[in-house]
């Protein structure tokens, strides 16, 4: 096979060959079985290499989507906070009403004071009770009484906002840390269980609910494998409680024990089952165990705590 033929095969397979050359090459393929075989091998190899890129892209998109969702939620929060302004306005209204009523009482009392003043009461009483000009005094009173709650509310609200903005959503981080294990699950090859095979195909085609349904009853001779597949399909279809249950069963023993520790934890974090301290302790255990297959990933997730 010369370089020219290799080049032709490559451009035929990757779709960059123009229509005319493509027709000519296909005619050549029909007449030359050796070339056809070589092209088929190259095409398989090329598609596998593309699948490797695709797997990476899917993980990257999942992670960015989780990040995007977290940011969207963070952006929603300040909007919800605007309701505080409504509460504030209502509070102001209430304070204003109370003050008006109080003022009304004062105004009703005022003439007596003025009368008393006019009647030659002591000067110090006038200083202590600045009611010489009821309107002015009244305004000062409103400012003092109303400003206090405004200041209190305004200082408390912005203090909460930045904290919520920078707070990392561990649930989203757990989802972002999840990596689809198609390769791992597919490593077993074809199975003796028809349902398991169908479920695997459904999983790879991203029909996760279908995969779960197909594995409602686990095949006896491949229970662990089917359980692992069902756990992942549940996770991917956002049925986290189903995933947690299956990963828990896998944790009890068998070849998927370590995987179940990691993925089970991610599922629990995704639905905030358990406490931050418990998640942290589990992550530390994995991160500190160099032989744990997920120790680097656990360490990475732990760094966000």
């Amino acid at each position: 096979m010369n370089d020219n033929q290799k080049g032709k095969i490559e451009s035929y397979v990757n779709g960059s060959m123009d229509a005319a050359s493509r027709s000519a090459f296909e005619a050549e393929l029909r007449e030359n079985p050796k070339l056809a075989n070589e092209t088929a091998v190259f095409k398989t190899e090329w598609e596998i290499r593309e699948m490797l890129i695709e797997n990476q892209l899917r993980n990257d998109i999942d992670a960015m989507y989780a990040q995007y969702q977290t940011q969207s939620v963070a952006a929603e929060k300040p909007r919800k906070k605007n309701l505080w302004w409504l509460a504030l306005i209502i509070a102001l209204g209430l304070v204003g009403t109370i003050y008006t009523l109080t003022l009304k009482d004062k105004v009703e009392v005022q003439p007596e004071n003025n009368n008393q003043q006019q009647g030659g009461y002591a000067d110090e009483q006038i200083d202590e009770t600045p009611t010489e000009l009821p309107e002015n005094t009244g305004q000062e009173g409103i400012t003092a009484e109303v400003e206090a709650p405004i200041e209190k509310t305004e200082t408390s609200a912005p203090a909460q906002t930045p904290v919520q903005k920078v707070k990392l959503d561990l649930s989203a981080l757990a989802l972002a840390a999840y990596e689809s294990p198609e390769g791992l699950l597919a490593s077993r090859g074809s199975s003796s269980s028809e349902n398991y095979d169908k479920a695997m195909k459904a999983f790879i085609a991203r029909n996760y609910r279908e995969a779960v349904n197909l594995l409602k009853t686990l095949p006896e001779d491949e229970e662990q494998e089917a359980l692992a597949l069902r756990a992942h399909a549940s996770f991917k279809s956002s049925d986290f409680s189903g995933a947690i249950q299956d990963f828990q069963a896998l944790k009890d023993g068998g070849i998927y024990r370590r995987d179940a520790e990691w993925y089970g934890l991610l599922a629990r974090m995704a639905v905030k089952q358990g406490s931050r301290d418990i998640w942290k302790a589990e992550l530390e255990k994995m991160a500190n165990n160099p032989s744990h297959p997920y120790n680097k990933k656990a360490g990475k997730l732990l760094s966000n705590f």
Partner: protein, 201 residues
Amino acid sequence: MPDNKNALNNDSHLIQAIQGDEIQRKKALQEFFTNPELFQRVVGYVISQGGSSEDAKDVFTESFIVFDRQVRNGVFRGESSLATYFQAIAKWQWLALKRKNKVTYDTSELAEVGSDQSPEKLMITSERKVILQNLIALMGEKCQRLLGLFQLNYSMKEIKEKMSYASEQVAANQVHKCREQLRNAIQEHPEHMSVLKYSSD
């Protein structure tokens, strides 16, 4: 006119990033998420067609995978704007998703993407993915990483640096070894190849 010029600049910048190294590719993907003409437009379209946000994410993912492949293989030549082209792919993907769910659809609005460039032709079918994932699983993690870099057109110098090899020659030898291993695995499983032969016709 200035807008078009800006759009072209942005398009070229994005295309270059997709064809770049892993860091640049991640930046390009991030830009797809933040550009309202790309991710948000796809989400808006899918939701307006009765899809869920999860459907929208799936459509975006599949569209990006197809687009990424087209850019890297020189199939997308920039004859239309990147946003228009990407949206057309997304429409195809949405129809494919609906077809999977057995809902009828109308293809009249899909003239922008030529039939020879239809994403369906460029996607690896679900059946085939199962086969390919089986073959991928036969390779070690190192070979998977190496061949991924090789497919992204990394030079041997870059692969040497990424994989901490002693020299470019060592990197080339390792790539050759992994390719041979994969080709042997393919030839040992002719049942996998037969699917490819028929589907390539």
